[in-house]
Symmetry: C2
Subunit: 212 residues, 2 copies
DNA sequence: GTCTATAATCCGATAGAC
DNA sequence: GTCTATCGGATTATAGAC
């Protein structure tokens, strides 16, 4: 029966989301499944292969959050939609974001499976496409696309890491606000002069709102 | 003899820098010291107390890298000096930066020692002072100081995390360049209009340099 | 202050019976 | 396919001799 393999995988994802990478063990997985540990080795070569599947599921979920933005009508809408998808994902699934940023050595693997590397390449391509079409639409500066992408990536990733580390005191809703407000300011440096005017207007509006 | 305690601490820092947090064990520490594990428990209550001292040393070193910038003459020089100190620290001491961003639960502690919390508060105060005096000097926008600080913090931390994860392909020197170039763009959004002109001039100069 | 010996838990993985 | 039994290793930490 091949359904058993899928039952193990489903249970493995659940276990990882509950206890994290360091707490994830074959013995606990067996206990949750209601079997003994050696049984799992009939379906998987070892812990490494199971974790590979968990990592695969993380990438699948992340991709679905991002790629939903492709249904939006304009480059700007797709860019904003992708940003909101990213924000929703990291807030709702911190463990899955975590395993995607865990070194392969810590996962006990020598190298990433080819299909996971392909998914990573697809995600990177997705972001580069958003940057490219926002440049064509006159929203982002027509310059070094890689550098523009890095600046936005680093800001977003840093915000998320600091939030997950507990460096921001507020609630989840307050973090979402902070993420967007900070993102607006960061964007000013990579936007065209015309679009920067609109972004700065948002900043001013926020300031006057706070005064009321 | 109290010198033994200091010898253990020195060796503990060395061991942590070599093998990281997960590889750090009392047995390895004892082996490096040339004694057996139970001996260490005459000087320390347990692994948690030793790691607390390692974390303390990390904060001391980080602070020394930052606070050296206080010798600079102007607010802008102090700000740039602090940024360069930060960059030097994270490049030269990734493990120490790492333990400073490790949750206390992962360190096996219930709460941070009061003096370490005080050092963290001092570092945060240092950055807020840099922001405050750069606002007074007409370099940064006169707005929400906390938000300006968060934007810069997130960008810097994100750049470092991605670098340490191996997400940037280049050399260390190329990363230092990337950090500064990306930082310049990020700064445009939090700078005054006057200072943003200077920052954008740097961006243009870089672009024309690349064309040659 | 350091040692030996050991308790008490964990872990991944395998052999071989059923 | 699952089980029992086990190997071989890791860890923190303690008891008690010297």
């Amino acid at each position: 029966m091949n359904g058993q393999r899928e039952r193990i995988l489903s249970c493995a994802c659940e276990l990882y989301l509950k206890v994290g990478l360091d707490g994830f063990s074959m013995r606990k997985l067996a206990r949750d499944l209601g079997v003994t540990a050696p049984s799992i080795y009939r379906h998987f070569e070892g812990r490494e292969e199971v974790l590979g599947e968990v990592l695969r599921e993380a990438h699948r979920t992340f991709s679905s959050y991002l790629f939903a933005a492709l249904n939006e009508p304009t480059p700007l809408d797709r860019f904003i939609g992708a940003g909101e998808g990213y924000l929703n994902f990291v807030v709702q699934h911190p463990r899955w974001y975590g395993i995607m940023h865990t070194g392969i050595d810590h996962l006990g693997m020598g190298a990433l499976p080819a299909d996971i590397e392909a998914m990573q390449a697809g995600i990177q391509q997705f972001w580069m496409d958003r940057v490219r079409e926002c440049i064509q639409a006159g929203i982002l500066k027509d310059g070094d696309r890689e550098l523009i992408s890095v600046t936005m990536w680093a800001h977003a990733h840093g915000m998320v890491q600091l939030y997950h580390e507990g460096c921001f005191p507020g609630t989840e809703a307050e973090f979402r606000m902070l993420f967007k407000q900070s993102g607006t300011r960061m964007m000013v440096g990579v936007a065209t002069d015309d679009f920067a005017v609109q972004l700065n207007q948002i900043v001013v509006d926020e300031a006057t709102q706070l005064q009321d």
